[in-house]
Symmetry: C2
């Protein structure tokens, strides 16, 4: 039976190529994993004098990873694997791996090493300058650096290539496949809802209601004195209840909260504390747990391929936001946890009724600082940044115009104007780090979270009553089976259609806000 | 002036080769540094499910380091640098770098990759078997693995080569340049002092003394109830007083105490706690601080070369032991710290007099377990192991004879016999991990510590009275200037002669013990 033997040989050859490819790929993921550990350790543990040499170690490893990735050896193998895929000789998961690796490979290949080094050098200096400019409230210190960064990012877009907008080329790093024009359309819908909705809330409908005993929600009634160790206990308890697996992860303290993973069985999050404000740590912990559940839910058996990687920053953010907001700021959630909170902290919660507590936790007030914004105003901060950075990259505006334009948009969208650039255009780290195209993923995350959550509720009608009994496994598993286990098999767009039957739209999020905040603020229709 | 130009060109060429060499060398040290972080994280932080993939990451990086080190590219450069050194074209520090790297390179080159993999595989299995054998007290479970490990280690010695004993080839990994015959001679001197000295102590000379109010030192009077957070405070306070730089290091908890470093500005130690026994953590902290001060004292500007590396395990151990024993168990040290200890823990120390405390802390009693041994008996445990492992590698005895020989030597040296192998031949992890030639470095450390300490006292007569005033900087700087800053510039042997004027001898250590314990036990001459 020579025929069979030949077929077997061909099949073996095919398996050999694919295996050789995934073996090399796994080595790249090992280096990524080590870089993640170095970064985590830098933020969580490293003594201060360690910084300089840590930077050198990271630079060396990052270079090693880059060179291995774009090496001729890897390129050749990738080409063979793509050919196998085109000839239909790989299964669909293998083809997805080939597709995703090719996408990233093409991008990295197009970026000259000189550009990468120049940007790294520039943003490293720009960071220091931004810190100083923000501290001293001097935008003009930062301006020349920002100008150079934007030049480099525009050049990057030209290297990478794009169809419509150079902004698309940058967006693609964080949200593969997303296009500025589509986002623009969705964000415009969102803005057209949010601006009047915020005005409605601010018109203080409770003036009348106060006559029947209802007061305007005030966040300050939640202030108190909360020892850190007791906050830590509470945070761990909540994380555990939501399903964070402490045998495959840990929670530490760091200056900024973040989630990172070395692989799906070692996922680490951080938090920070304010002894007067319990929710400063708790809500960020729930947020990071959402990120962590995504990472812990990725299929570990596929570690070393994009099938064990998250789809995009937007989808990632949808997972953190859905736990933080749809779950963690909901009445059912607090029906379950409020007795524990009161037991742990009789001051001040002993004398606050659950409903008042819930309304205070969800109070809405336009603020100057994005990271302090509530669910309603948050996305207006993002839309403002998206519009500005898109215009910068498209060359419609210049960096020097930013402070003025920032103030104008703040006035138009949020009705308040920062007196200083420190509270305005200088507040975020992103631009100093060259992260253009990153901001919109925050709002995409909010929109996805609402759209996914609506689908989850549709297929599990009793979901929220489960929350009120402290049961979160069903929802967690729904997210895992519908989103996490697929890794990068689907694009964000495909996944959204698969789960919700529709492409991404602002409608689910605006419906969610309208329903929730009409109740909290007793708005008339 | 063509002549000058030619010379300048040659000099430039020389600098180029050496620079290229140290650039590649630094990359190897970056990988070593990352491996140290991975190991530290594994022992201090890693959640349990992370273990499998962490093992794979470490294996990959270790392989990468090995292959880069013995690569043709690196080998060629090393050869050119050695040539420059032989031609007298490098300065003496550069020549020391070439010498030390060549030494390690030659060794690694001689070990076939197959051997390295086989040993890694075998010791990984053997570890599990040893854990089980120890738990179930069944030496015969472990025996076949030990036999195979010894076969491999003997084969390793043949690959590496040696002049007198195959044991020398193994010893060389941990104590470069040391020879079994020399150690044998020194250890015999030591044994000839220790065995009768221990008998003298045990003869209970205090029976008479008790009539004048002196009691036999009893360690158990130091037991109590010591909350972990207060132990941590004390440990950090002592570490800081001794000179541990917390801006270039940290202290964490781990199952086994250890010291590690990523470079001289990021040095980390660990400890563990027993709420009944304060000294279980404190003395091991002082020990690890000794290791850490060595690492923090290495010249950071030479990071990436052997000039910023410790000389040997023996010299490293001398630094931990000198702080733990000569300083940390001395009366002057406790003159300073005892009031603090009493304030922190009035129970039980409030009613124990300083002298009684000091004597209890230094009580001598033969024990079955090495890690629980006191200063007098500790080295007898090591000599026993050294004699047995040397005989195993030289083929004088077989692994099957070990339990019997172990008991005989315990009887001869320490006067006690373990009833079980768990308390005997199965107690240490070293052999299961293939660490033959490692044990003697513990005793070499003790001997070096005494010889160095004698030299330090000679050149700083007021040293101990400084300790009693909490001043440790002078001694720390003496160690730094005489030992730490040299890195691997000198061999252990050269360093010892340079500092003390003499080669290593047991005399300083036996003098130290004789003087200290004659006083504690009121021995007659």
């Amino acid at each position: 039976m020579p025929q069979v033997k030949v077929i077997a040989k061909i099949r073996r050859r095919r398996i050999d190529i694919y295996n050789e490819f995934t073996t090399l790929l796994l080595e790249l993921y090992q280096l990524k994993s080590v870089l993640a550990l170095l970064d985590w350790d830098t933020q969580v543990n490293m003594p201060e004098k360690g910084a300089q040499r840590r930077g050198e170690t990271v630079a060396y490893l990052a270079g090693l990873l880059h060179n291995k990735f774009i090496s001729r050896e890897f390129g050749k193998l990738l080409k063979s694997v793509k050919k196998l895929s085109q000839e239909g000789k790989l299964d669909e998961k293998q083809s997805a791996v080939a597709r995703e690796v090719s996408r990233e490979f093409a991008r990295e290949k197009k970026l000259p090493e000189k550009h990468v080094r120049e940007l790294a050098q520039l943003t490293s200096e720009a960071h220091q300058v931004w810190v100083r400019a923000r501290r001293e409230n001097k935008f003009r210190f930062f301006l020349p650096y920002l100008e150079r960064i934007i030049d480099l990012k525009r050049r990057e877009a030209e290297c990478v290539g794009y169809r419509q907008s150079p902004y698309d080329a940058l967006l693609d790093t964080y949200e593969p496949g997303a296009k500025a024009a589509e986002i623009d359309k969705i964000f415009t819908d969102l803005k057209e809802f949010l601006v009047p909705f915020l005005k409605k809330i601010q018109s203080d409908p409770l003036r009348e209601a106060s006559q029947i005993g209802l007061k305007k929600p005030k966040i300050r009634i939640l202030r108190g004195n909360f020892p850190i160790d007791k906050q830590q206990e509470l945070g761990r308890m909540v994380a555990e209840a939501l399903g964070f697996d402490f045998t495959a992860g840990r929670i530490d303290q760091a200056v900024h909260p973040f989630a990172t993973n070395f692989h799906p069985e070692d996922v680490r999050i951080t938090t920070r504390f304010d002894t007067r404000d319990l929710f400063y740590s708790l809500m960020s912990t729930i947020h990071e747990v959402g990120h962590a559940l995504y990472e812990q839910g990725l299929p570990v058996e596929n570690f070393g391929t994009p099938l064990a990687e998250s789809i995009s920053l937007g989808i990632h953010e949808s997972q953190s936001r859905v736990w933080e907001n749809q779950v963690g700021r909901s009445l059912p959630f607090w029906k379950y946890f409020y007795p524990t909170l009161r037991r742990k902290f009789p001051q001040p919660f002993g004398k606050i009724k659950l409903e008042d507590f819930h309304r205070a936790l969800n109070s809405v007030r336009p603020s100057l600082i994005r990271t302090e914004a509530d669910e309603v105003t948050y996305n207006l901060h993002i839309i403002l940044r998206f519009e500005l950075e898109k215009a910068l990259i498209e060359g419609e505006i210049t960096p020097a115009e930013l402070p003025k334009l920032w103030k104008k948009k703040m006035k138009d969208y949020l009705g308040i104007v920062p007196k200083t650039d420190r509270e305005g255009v200088l507040q975020d780290i992103h631009w100093s780090a060259g992260l253009f195209g990153y901001f919109p993923t925050y709002t995409l995350g909010n929109l996805y979270s609402a759209q996914f959550y609506a689908a989850a509720k549709l297929s599990n009608p009793g979901l929220e009553s489960q929350f009120s009994r402290g049961k979160f496994a069903k929802f967690r598993n729904w997210l895992k089976l519908n989103i996490h286990i697929h890794g990068k098999f689907y694009s964000a767009d495909q996944l959204c259609k698969k789960i919700t039957g529709k492409p991404l739209s602002a409608k689910y999020f605006t419906d969610y806000l309208a329903s929730k905040y009409s109740q909290i603020y007793k708005l008339s229709d």
